[in-house]
């Protein structure tokens, strides 16, 4: 178990950096279908921001803002979103994950965006969850 240390420099830097890291992570996920990036990369960046937060402020602070139960639910939610996009295509009469049939503008791009969001949520939650498990294992 890592002892909690108060370092004003690290805490201030983390407070300044974390919003930009999270914004960049969301950008990487949202622009996955039109520029380099995607769910895996964006999810890892988002997860890294929470790991940075726990390194600077201690894991208890992260647990207060982002309960572990929510994390476990988000792990499942990401895979569920991915599968749900596929099943919606199936219900509309196309093959599993055949986005062309979705009733939105640019159906293929939007379908990919949907599954990238699912991948991003799962990867982010798994990153933070494994970090938490390794940290609290005694």
């Amino acid at each position: 178990m890592i002892r909690r240390q108060q370092s004003i420099i690290i805490q201030t830097l983390a407070r300044l950096l974390i919003p930009f890291i999270q914004l960049f992570g969301l950008y990487v996920i949202m622009h996955g279908h039109s520029s380099p990036g995607g769910g895996f990369q964006g999810g890892v960046i988002l997860g890294a921001s929470f790991i940075l937060m726990s390194l600077a402020y201690g894991i208890d602070e992260v647990k207060k803002r982002f309960p572990i139960k929510v994390l476990t639910v988000m792990m499942c939610l990401g895979v569920f979103i991915y599968a749900a996009v596929g099943v919606v295509c199936l219900l509309l009469g196309a093959n599993f994950l055949d986005y062309g049939i979705l009733p939105v503008v640019e159906p293929r791009g939007m379908g990919m965006l949907g599954i990238e969001i699912g991948v991003g949520i799962t990867v982010m939650a798994v990153m933070v969850s494994i970090f938490y498990d390794l940290l609290t294992f005694e």
Binding site: G38, G39, K69, T72, M75, M112, T122, D133
Partner: protein, 94 residues
Amino acid sequence: MKPLYLVLTVLVGLLLAYGVSDMPDWGDPASPANTHVSPRYIEKSFEETEVPNMVTAVLADYRGFDTFGETTVVFAAGICCLLILRRAREDDDS
């Protein structure tokens, strides 16, 4: 039993090395992967998927089912770490 494990490991390693020697050279333009699917992705991916990022088009559209499996693997890894490492404590809400 330990010498047996060593022999088995070396044998499997040799078998894998023998299998790898049969694969096409790295970046060989005449290999099946480069003559069969790559041109189709490069020429048709924008027409067929309407997204400018070819990598994501292959990852999320042509091979969407594969990526679904990858996501499930990541999910399974998280669940396994949770099951093995996390212990329930009475004062903990997890």
